[in-house]
Amino acid sequence: MKTNNNLDNFPDIRVVNLLTPHFTPTTSLSFKAPAPRPRPLWQAVRISAVAAMIAVAVFIGISGVQTSTAREVVERAMTQLLESDNYLVQFTANVTENKNSWELYDLDFEGTPMKGTVEISKEESKVRMAIKWQDKSRSMELYDGESYRRYQNGELVLERPHGGIDLTSLASLEKLKAYAVAMGLMLKFSEEGDVISVSTRGDKVGIVARFSKSEGRLLGAECSGPYNGQQVTVLTVDRIDFDVPPAE
C-alpha cells in the first residue's frame, strides 16, 4: 500500500534530483520587439536580403550542418534572395561527398573547401537552377523545373524526376518581411568605406553579409557555425551578379 510518509517520498526526491539539471549551458539570446518606425525602401530591401541569409542560418541550426546538403542551403538562400529573373552566385563551401542520397555533396565543418557557381533563371512559372562544382569531374547539377540531372565531364550520369524549385514561399515578401521585422533589432550594422556589413548572432551560427553602399546591392555573405570551440565558416557567397543570362 502506498503511503505519503517521508520515508516513502525519500526515493522520489532522489529521482527528482537525478533529473534536476546541474550543467545547463547558458544562452545569449535576446528578444526585443521591433521599433515601430517606418523603414525607407532601400533599407527594407537591404534587410530583406539579410533576412534571407538569416533564414539560412536558422535552417542550418535546426537541421544540423551534417544533414544539410549544399544544394538545400544554397537553394534556400538563393530562393529567398530572388528579386531578379536571372542571377549568378559564386560561392565556396566546405563539403564532403554525400554517400547516402542522390545529392552530390553535404556541407560539413570538416569538409574540403570547394568553389562553385549557382545560376538561377526564372521563366514564367518555372525556375531553373544549375550548380556547377569546380571538382575534378566538373560536376554540374541541373534542376530545370521538371527533373534533376547530374553531369560529370559533360556526360549525363544521373537523371530523376524532380518537382523543381518551389518559389511560392518567395511570394513571401511577407515571409522575408516577417524575418526582417522580427530580426530587425538583432542585426549589427557597421560601415567601412563603401561597404556596409551586417552581422548576426555573435558567437552562434552566424551570417555576415556585405553590401555596396553606392550600388545598393548585396556583395557577398558568409555562413558559419560553432565547431570544436571555434567559429567555422562553411559557406561563403563570394559574389552575386544579377540579371546575368544563364549559360547553357
Binding site: L29, I62, Q66, A178
Partner: protein, 170 residues
C-alpha cells in the same frame, strides 16, 4: 509614435519570450541535447510566432501557447534528425552514469531515464523540471486536468524509482 495592434502584439510576444528565455532554453537544451540547437529552436520559435503579428491577440494564454509550440518544435527537430538516435536504456546504466560531470553526460542520463517513461509522463516531467512550469500551467499546456498533470508527474517519478531500485542504483 502610435503603436499598431501588430506592434503591440510583437512587443507582448518579445517581452514574454525574453522573460521566459532561460526556461525555454533549458527545456529545449534537455530535449535536443545541444545548446546551439536549443538556441536555434527558441530563435526559430520566436520568428514563427512573430509572423502571426496582430493575430497573436487572439491567443488568450500566450505563455501556454509558447510552451506548447516549443514542445512541438523540439519534437520536430528530433524527428528531422537522421543520426544521433540513442539506443541506450536503463539496463546499461551504471552508478557512474548517475554522477554526470558535464552537460553531455547529464543529457544522456536524463534521456535514458526519460526513455523509460511513456511520452505523456516524460513531457509533464520535462515541463515541470526543465520548463519550470507550475502544475496548473502544465495542465493548460497539455490540455489535461490539473489532477492528471500531478498524477502523471508522480507516476513517472515512481516508475523511475522502481526501475532504479530494481537495478540497485538507488
Amino acid at each position: 509614435m502610435k503603436l499598431t495592434t501588430e506592434n503591440k502584439q510583437l512587443t507582448r510576444l518579445a517581452e514574454l519570450i525574453q522573460s521566459e528565455r532561460d526556461h525555454l532554453f533549458r527545456y529545449a537544451c534537455y530535449r535536443v541535447g545541444s545548446a546551439a540547437e536549443a538556441d536555434d529552436v527558441v530563435q526559430d520559435l520566436y520568428l514563427r510566432l512573430s509572423k502571426q503579428g496582430a493575430r497573436l491577440s487572439e491567443i488568450e494564454d500566450l505563455k501556454g501557447y509558447v510552451y506548447r509550440s516549443l514542445a512541438n518544435s523540439c519534437a520536430s527537430a528530433l524527428r528531422s534528425r537522421r543520426q544521433f538516435a540513442t539506443t541506450e536504456t536503463l539496463d546499461t546504466l551504471s552508478s557512474d552514469d548517475l554522477a554526470p560531470k558535464d552537460f553531455e553526460q547529464e543529457f544522456r542520463l536524463i534521456e535514458r531515464l526519460m526513455s523509460h517513461l511513456p511520452d505523456e509522463q516524460s513531457e509533464v516531467i520535462r515541463l515541470r523540471i526543465y520548463g519550470g512550469r507550475q502544475f496548473d500551467e502544465i495542465a493548460s499546456i497539455c490540455n489535461i486536468p490539473l489532477t492528471t498533470a500531478k498524477s502523471r508527474f508522480r507516476y513517472g517519478i515512481d516508475k523511475l524509482r522502481e526501475a532504479l531500485e530494481k537495478r540497485g542504483l538507488i
